[in-house]
């Protein structure tokens, strides 16, 4: 397929929220990402998919500034990865990254202190809706509750780019629905949401664009509707057939 593709025809005057050029990442001799180039426009929800080891998390981490590319470049809203890009990117990793001894309200204070775009009222409202006790320590929380808290912290920022790595993987179906509703409600013309997940059927209805990675290369990058029309199937079914294990 064509390596460089811009899906943001409607936002040509503005820089794309993500722009990757000839991006390569090697771990020793192993190729994690192989010379990929693409750009993602504003106001879109983009799903990054692929089997384990296809390079999804590596790509997310490079956009977040946690990995340095071996070659090529990444820009966020026209800014190279650095302090300026970190101010506008809200990243949810698949790992728990908060202090185990912290209380929920301490983590809220931390985010309020470090991110100018953090909306404290929104965070407390979400905590209440998801029944998370603000005085509870993370040490005593279940894995699912910690994931809820991390998602609340990330989604309470009024960022330009939300990078969500497996945001619904460890939570119950009811919370999943709430998270998906939250992601949609955060939609704005000037921001973008990038979601990496294996639970395609749960989120495919909210996706505008889909990027499928295979062995560190782009296999498909198109709008979700175009893919469904072309294959006459749901994205979940296309993915299952494409990567069927025998």
């Amino acid at each position: 397929m064509e390596k460089v593709k811009n899906l943001s025809n409607d936002t040509d005057e503005l820089s794309p929220i993500i722009e990757c050029k000839n991006l390569t990442k090697l771990y020793g001799k192993k190729i994690a990402l192989n010379d990929i180039s693409f750009s993602i426009g504003r106001g879109k929800i983009t799903g990054i998919m692929g089997v384990n080891g296809s390079g999804k998390t590596t790509l997310m981490k490079m956009i977040a500034g946690l990995l340095v590319p071996t070659s090529g470049s990444v820009k966020v809203c026209g800014k190279p990865i650095g302090i300026a890009s970190k101010q506008i990117v809200s990243y949810l990793p698949e790992k728990t990254y908060l202090n185990e001894w912290s209380k929920v309200k301490d983590t809220i204070s931390f985010f309020k202190d470090f991110y100018k775009d953090f909306n404290e009222a929104k965070a407390y409202d979400m905590l209440k809706r998801l029944n998370v006790n603000t005085n509870e320590k993370l040490l005593t929380m279940s894995k699912g509750t910690k994931e809820k808290l991390q998602l609340i912290l990330v989604m309470s920022r009024e960022a330009q780019v939300y990078l969500l790595d497996e945001p619904i993987c460890g939570v119950d179906p009811a919370t999943r629905d709430y998270i998906i509703r939250t992601i949609i409600s955060n939609y704005s013309e000037n921001s973008g949401v990038i979601i990496s997940t294996h639970l395609i059927s749960d989120i495919e209805n909210i996706l505008d664009d889909v990027l499928i990675l295979e062995n560190g290369s782009i296999k498909i990058f198109s709008s979700a509707d175009e893919i469904r029309q072309k294959y006459n199937k749901s994205i979940d079914n296309i993915f299952r057939e494409m990567f069927k294990c025998y």
Binding site: Y27, L66, L67, V68, I83, K86, Y97, F114
Partner: protein, 283 residues
């Protein structure tokens, strides 16, 4: 941003070290009471003395573990996902760790001195606060006299000595950070590579100090600065003897050591910054 980072780092370290430092003070108070109550039972006094020494040792080990662990978990572990996505520079992250460690090292030292004063000032030993102040004053006078006798500026030598201790702590901390950073650059056996760097650099470092002291101040290559410190520790019960260990060889080695510490600190600080800024590979 740096102040905010220091604030959170202080909270994280303080929650562990405040109880540890408070326990050292508590043991000092118990030790002091034991001196008052068990005048004739010297075996009990020995037990309490051992308990205090052991508590101090535990406090030092705890301090090192907490500070190193904070750096590793924040820079290499899962908390790195939070630290490295904060809108701040890598050198701010390193400086916040460095400053906080120095603050807690100073608090720990003050805690130790206070504990010693609590234990020392008791009726049975006959040591009073006035006597302690007088002893320190007479030691300082004797030190000034000794240094002038060997044609050295006492104020300069004292500043250089305190600077040496401070720079040593600073260098030691940044050297640990650098060793961790070097370890992260290897896909396997990170700890072994980190430790190899830690010890080999120390070896080279000491060699440079001795060669520098030999070339500039004609200090014999066989001269060891460590032996003077052992003498100093051994003679702590007679404070006046501390003053007599200064000699031109020791002063020369301290001056060269200070210069090398500063250069080494700068090199390693930029090394840590470069590795975590340009070669960050958070797993």
């Amino acid at each position: 941003m740096l102040l905010k980072l220091i604030k959170y780092e202080n909270n994280a370290i303080g929650r562990v070290l405040i109880p540890v430092y408070a326990f050292v003070l508590l043991v000092a108070v118990v030790n002091r009471l034991s001196l008052d109550l068990c005048k004739s039972d010297s075996s009990l006094i020995l037990v309490f003395d051992f308990l205090f020494s052991f508590t101090c040792l535990v406090a030092i080990v705890m301090f090192l573990i907490v500070c190193i662990n904070r750096f590793i978990s924040n820079f290499v572990g899962s908390e790195g996902y939070l630290m490295f996505t904060l809108p701040t520079s890598t050198y701010n992250l390193i400086l916040s760790k460095l400053f906080t460690t120095i603050i807690w090292a100073i608090i720990g030292f003050a805690d130790f001195i206070l504990s010693l004063i609590i234990i020392s000032l008791n009726k049975s030993s006959g040591l009073t606060l006035k006597l302690l102040v007088d002893t320190i004053k007479s030691t300082t006078d004797y030190l000034y006299y000794n240094l002038e006798k060997i044609n050295q500026n006492p104020r300069f030598v004292l500043i250089m000595t305190f600077l040496y201790i401070f720079l040593y702590i600073l260098f030691f901390i940044i050297h640990i950070y650098m060793s961790v950073a070097v370890g992260t650059q290897f896909p396997r056996h990170k700890i072994i590579f980190g430790l190899t760097y830690f010890f080999s650099y120390f070896l080279i470092f000491n060699l440079i100090v001795f060669i520098g002291a030999y070339l500039i101040f004609d200090v014999p290559m066989s001269y060891s600065i460590g032996s003077n410190y052992y003498m100093m520790i051994e003679s702590l019960d007679k404070l006046e003897e501390v003053a007599s260990i200064y000699n031109p060889h020791l002063i020369g080695t301290i001056i060269v050591g200070n210069v090398i510490y500063v250069i080494s600190f700068i090199l390693e600080f930029f090394g840590v910054n470069k590795i975590f800024h340009n070669k960050l590979n958070l797993e």
